[in-house]
């Protein structure tokens, strides 16, 4: 592991420790009943801060890289990304298109946008696209604002943009693949151990997570593997899809796990009821739509010369 990665990991661990201390103090020691697990609105904002600190930690660990530049181009791209993500989320959230979900795997193609924008334009653009796009999309649909999911979406774009930090994209690909694979496998195992968990993302909230939704993450991961090796020569596609996958797992994982404290879910409910039905299908879209976007954008770049 090189110095950069070590810096990133240390920052993450420290932040998590600070947060756990806060919850223990507020809930356990002071005994404030609403601070304890259960309906806990204050924690949403704590998690927002945690997510931001995570991103900040990564930044601090790798400050010298050119990927952190925010110039005119990045400003315009992040605005476009956020607007596109907002519009697509709104359109496919059931307002304009009521697309029948195949056994609880609802179509959310919009997720390809933060992943693609993050990969193509960098982590800051990716974060803004995911977070602000999610905020506006939810506000347009009328869902209301769920800050921890906005940050989770922001993290998807952020992590998808991390390959820009590494000069040689190819080397890190395999370790990212392995990490993603392990996480996907763990989540699926937890699913099979908890078949009765209710799917929290699908009306009427009392259906156990279907088999399709449960294994969707494994399925998605298989697709990512296929794309990675089928397009092995095209480093851009492989890297975009792989890092997008990691971003998806970690970003959605962040939001779902934060609900353990915010909504008082059990860990099994958070992982099986929220994480799987969201992250799994997202992965499937990532594997299919992101390569399309990468190829199209590469063609545009060749044409316009920039």
């Amino acid at each position: 592991m090189n110095k950069k990665l070590v810096g990133v990991v240390v920052a993450l661990v420290v932040i998590l420790a600070i947060f756990m201390l806060f919850v223990w103090l507020g809930g356990g020691v002071l005994g404030v009943s609403r601070f304890q697990t259960g309906e806990n609105p204050v924690l949403r904002f704590v998690f927002v801060i945690v997510g931001l600190l995570v991103a900040l930690g990564v930044y601090l660990g790798t400050k010298e890289s050119k990927a952190w530049e925010v110039g005119t181009r990045q400003v315009v791209w992040m605005a476009i990304g956020a607007a596109l993500y907002a519009v697509f989320s709104w359109l496919f959230n059931g307002t304009v298109f009521v697309v029948p979900s195949v056994s609880q795997v609802a179509l959310r193609p919009a997720i390809a946008i933060p992943m693609f924008f993050g990969y193509a334009f960098g982590p800051i653009v990716g974060f803004f696209t995911g977070a602000v796009g999610n905020m506006f999309g939810d506000a347009l649909t009328g869902f209301g604002l769920y800050p921890q999911w906005s940050i989770g979406n922001g993290l998807i774009g952020f992590i998808a943009g991390l390959p820009m930090l590494f000069a040689d994209k190819k080397k890190s690909l395999d370790s990212v693949l392995i990490a993603g694979g392990v996480l996907a496998a763990v989540a699926t195992v937890i699913y099979f151990l908890n078949r009765n968990e209710i799917n929290q993302l699908v009306y009427p909230f009392d259906q156990p997570v279907s088999l399709m939704a449960g294994i969707s993450i494994l399925f998605g991961f298989m697709l990512v593997l296929v794309v990675r090796f089928a397009f092995g020569k095209n480093i851009d596609i492989a890297a975009a899809v792989t890092w997008g996958m990691l971003g998806n797992i970690l970003g959605i994982g962040f939001a779902a796990i934060s609900d353990i404290w915010i909504n008082g879910y059990s860990p099994a409910t958070a992982i099986v009821g929220e994480f799987l039905p969201a992250a799994g299908p997202n992965l499937i879209f990532a594997a299919i739509l992101v390569p399309l976007l990468v190829v199209a954008y590469a063609a545009v770049q060749r044409q316009s010369g920039r």
């Binding site: 400003v75 607007a83 795997v105 179509l107 693609f116 506000a139 209301g144 009392d206 299919i288």
Partner: protein, 290 residues
């Protein structure tokens, strides 16, 4: 060409204030509603939302479509919660049944039963109140925030220049991309592409979304080059940015902000003191024989 939100200059309560002050108040309002499940407190916020709506000067014709959607969505959501009782399980422990309607049939061995309890009905009502208040306040924002002021508003709230401008651009682009999406849909439809009838396995379905998502995205990115050039030619980002409009806080704005913060602090205090959790009026419980 840009399409824009339906903003008009109106004489109304919202527009009487500095947009920054209003956004701050809106944020406090949002956070406060999150703290309460108690209908008595929620109705206070609901009343505020309705007052704002009525005095906003936005005509019914203007917001009819958005409103119908919100109403439909809110009622659907509350109804679902009511029918299934999910979500309330965290808020109440005991249920006093008013009536239990069992279906005369079973579906795969499971008998659909509707347990109408006092708690559940009241929970649905509380949820209606809360979601509605938030929705009303949110929906009014694009109608009452002057687009010329987007950038300076975010800058005035403390965001760095570039981020404020990015948010300005985002809000301006949303209607445009909505329109682009519609154009692309029509163009593709003329070439035989059908989005309404998506058949096939999951992978097929996702692939079918490609012809609509990719063109809109790439078109947006291509268009961005012109905007980037325009901004660069006007020396964007070189020094601190100046804005055409100026926003000055007047006394009424300071009062609004103070009110918002006071509301937030009070709500938080009530939260810590243990008030505000789900409540059902006593007489209803007795009615149910509890």
């Amino acid at each position: 060409m840009l399409v824009s939100w339906r903003y008009r200059d109106r004489k109304s309560l919202i527009q009487w204030f500095d947009p920054r002050a209003w956004l701050i108040f809106y944020a406090c309002f949002l956070v406060c509603t999150l703290f309460f499940w108690d209908l008595r407190f929620l109705s206070f916020f609901f009343v505020i939302a309705v007052v704002v709506l009525v005095t906003s000067g936005v005509t019914w014709k203007e917001m009819r479509r958005a409103f119908f959607f919100i109403i439909g969505f809110v009622i659907f959501y509350a109804l679902l919660t009511f029918l299934t009782g999910r979500g309330g399980v965290e808020a109440y422990k005991q249920e006093h049944l008013i009536r239990s309607l069992a279906a005369p049939f079973t579906v795969f061995g499971w008998r659909p039963t509707l347990n109408i309890s006092v708690e559940r009905s009241f929970f649905a009502v509380s949820q209606l109140a809360r979601v509605f208040s938030v929705a009303i306040m949110t929906i009014l924002i694009p109608y009452t925030l002057n687009p010329a002021l987007y950038g300076i508003t975010f800058r005035g709230l403390g965001f760095p220049d570039k981020i404020a401008y990015a948010m300005d651009l985002t809000m301006r682009f949303i209607p445009t991309f909505g329109r682009d999406f519609q154009l692309t849909m029509d163009a593709q439809r003329a070439r035989g592409y059908e989005l309404d009838k998506i058949r096939g396995g999951l992978i097929q379905q996702v692939r079918k979304l490609g012809p609509i998502i990719v063109p809109v995205t790439i078109h947006a990115i291509i268009g961005s080059e012109d905007i980037i050039d325009a901004m660069d030619l006007r020396a964007f980002g070189i020094g601190p940015r100046s804005w055409l409009e100026q926003l000055i806080y007047r006394r009424r704005d300071r009062i609004l902000i103070a009110a918002g913060v006071l509301l937030l602090v009070l709500s938080f205090a009530l939260l810590v003191l243990g008030y505000g959790s789900f409540w059902v009026p006593e007489f209803l419980v007795r009615l149910a024989g509890g």
